[in-house]
Amino acid sequence: MLSFIGRSIVQKSVTLFFVSIVSFLIIHLAPGEPSQVDPMNPKFTPEMVERFKKEFHLDKPLYVQYTYFYRDLFTGKIVSWKDNQSVLTKIWERFLNSLPLFIVGTILTWTLSFPVGIRSAIFRGGIYDRSATFLAYLLISIPGFFFAYILIILVVTTLHVPVIGMETFGLGASSWGYVFMDRIWHLLIPSILGATGGIAVLSRYVRSQMLEVEGQDYVRTARAKGLSSDQVHYKHALRNALLPFVTMFGLILPGLIGGSVIIESIFSWPGMGRMAYEAILARDYPIILTVNFISAVLVLAGTFISDILYLVVDPRIRL
């Protein structure tokens, strides 16, 4: 167990090191330079460009830039090229904005997909199963931005509540309850959108896991013993079908930072995804690279956690 943990930590650090190199190279070897962002701006004189380059070490060779960048990142001194603010505080602020979306979305995904998946597995081939399957494919296939507009039209025209942004502007004097409901409405629609894909995929997965377990011999034995069907389904089958999902708790970790670029830009939600999008537009390399680095760390940590969880919950796996 300990040797497994040690080995995978070493392996993941090596992977992370290569990720940092690859992302750095992708950004810096791509055509165009950050100093060319705004060539039409009359304030952007050649002297300014020179100073800018010197300030951010852009005149140094690549490997020097690389070491400077990651030194700054680990000491927390890294600053955005656009406004000279600390990248880490910027990301933290945006992260706090994205967090509610992520939490509500995750809760929706995990609470909705299990009942749907289990029910379609139990009544396999029935009308419920078939319509749930079709609906799941529909939700996987619908482009997020298109679905967003359908929901916006629906909500705005039938319920007459504003949904763009994090809150309605100028609600200062309203009652406490009104402001609260306003926040809920603003939060709910983007969260539902963020959750749709997850619900569709996860419920299909739950269904296939349930079907797999329902075909096992011990489930037949449980039936033959004369147990009630509830007991067979929920006690014997479901508990065993749940095993792989424990590991998925680790895999939702990367979603923390990903955010959705498209959904956040449609809803003007000042979250991580939108910040990353703006950074890409402005060629603000420190922010792009930092977001990339943190998300790589989260992916690796997520797989690590899920491996450990699997070891803990499944006694059949021994290293």
Partner: protein
């Protein structure tokens, strides 16, 4: 013993080929059949779309601007008296309405269908090729080792190329020269040991086993999986010049990891099978074994993931177009028709709904088709049916 008895008792080949069996199972899945039919229709539409909308005098002109006819709802007739004879739409009616510049949405959709189709197919083609190549090598040659000097030489040569590219000529040339000298040295060593029929102990100091090919390729997959895919695609597409081909290449090069894993897993089990051993015993070459004997047996899961990959690629392209990073403007794509139409969502909802529903239907048909294929190829279901 008569001839009839002989044929009855001797082992006979299955009456149906595997393809027929597959088709039989596939046909029972009504959703998948629907997917296949829509796929064929979409294919025909896209092909005819590119024929009808390109050229000097296209049948449907997607770029024809008629400002007096803007934002007309679907199925409106044009006002003939205000238009030039050349500006009248070919069908005599705006089938899908017009957009804010008075362009015919129907012809723009026709033009966009081709973009979706090619982006889907080329991107997935690239990813499948890379995936099969990497997975095949990892699965078949996985146990072979890469030597330390190979890695060093690759690093030195790449560094030299990058240095030359960046502009520092001196160290760049030095790196490349050192790399080539070492390669020549190795080749000469190998030739000498071959001609003398003796195993020369001329293995250099650096000629040591470093890691297996399998480990290396799987670590590359891990590295690629660490990147948030849409964000990575967005970054690269924003940095390189906007063009349809760049988008295809970028989507293709960021989505080969799944295929690699499938192919590797299949190859690892296939290479232990008797027919591969038999082929090896017959002296069949490695590449013939890989492509002629093993690949046909490994291609099923790849096909399924490719079909679903096309759906994902079309969605990704639409998302990129929506954010303004897609195919550059004069060319219509479903994503940018929708993106342009979002400003008029309450006045001209058809500008949002027509491309949106079109993308939905096409992506849905690919997903249903892929899943149907997966079910039909599932050996568990085959036994049951």
């Amino acid at each position: 013993m008569t001839k009839d008895q002989l044929t009855l008792e001797s082992p006979s080949a299955p009456r149906r080929t595997r393809l027929q069996e597959l088709w039989q199972l596939f046909r029972e899945n009504r959703l998948a059949i629907m997917g296949l039919i829509i796929f064929v229709l979409f294919f025909i539409t896209a092909i005819s779309g590119v024929v009808l909308t390109s050229g000097q005098k296209p049948v449907f002109d997607p770029a024809m601007v008629r400002l007096q006819e803007k934002l007309l709802p679907p199925l409106t007739r044009p006002q003939i008296d205000t238009l030039q004879p050349t500006e009248i739409p070919t069908l005599g009616v705006y089938l899908f309405g017009t957009d804010d510049l008075g362009r015919d949405v129907f012809s723009r959709m026709l033009q966009g269908a081709w973009v979706s189709l090619t982006v889907g197919f080329v991107a997935v083609g690239i990813s499948v090729l890379v995936g099969i190549f990497m997975g095949g090598i990892a699965g078949y040659f996985g146990q072979e080792y890469i030597f330390l000097d190979h890695i060093l030489i690759t690093v030195i040569l790449t560094a030299g190329a990058i240095l030359l590219f960046v502009g520092s000529t001196g160290p760049g040339v030095a790196c490349i020269v050192v790399g080539h000298v070492y390669i020549l040295y190795r080749i000469v060593c190998r030739l000498l040991s071959k001609t003398r029929h003796t195993r020369l102990k001329s293995r250099g100091l650096l000629h040591k086993k470093a890691l297996s090919i399998d480990t290396m390729i799987m670590r590359m997959v891990d590295i690629m999986l660490c990147f948030p895919s849409f964000f990575l695609i967005l970054t690269v597409v924003a940095l390189v010049p906007a063009s349809m081909y760049n988008i295809m290449i970028v989507i293709g090069l960021t989505s080969w990891m799944g295929t690699t894993r499938f192919v590797r897993a299949e190859f690892l089990s296939l290479r232990e099978q008797d027919f591969v051993t038999a082929a090896k015993a017959l002296g069949v070459g490695n590449f013939r074994i890989i492509f002629r004997h093993m690949m046909p047996n490994a291609v099923a899961p790849v096909l399924v993931s490719a079909t679903i990959g096309i759906a994902t690629a079309i969605l990704t392209e639409a998302g990129l177009s929506f954010l303004g990073f897609g195919v550059p403007p004069p060319h219509a794509t479903w994503g940018n028709i929708l993106s342009d139409g979002k400003r008029f969502i309450f006045d001209a909802p058809w500008l949002t709904f027509i491309p949106g529903i079109a993308i939905l239907i096409v992506v849905l048909c690919f997903n249903l088709f892929g899943e149907g294929l997966r079910d039909a190829m599932n050996p568990k279901l085959r036994e049951r049916g």
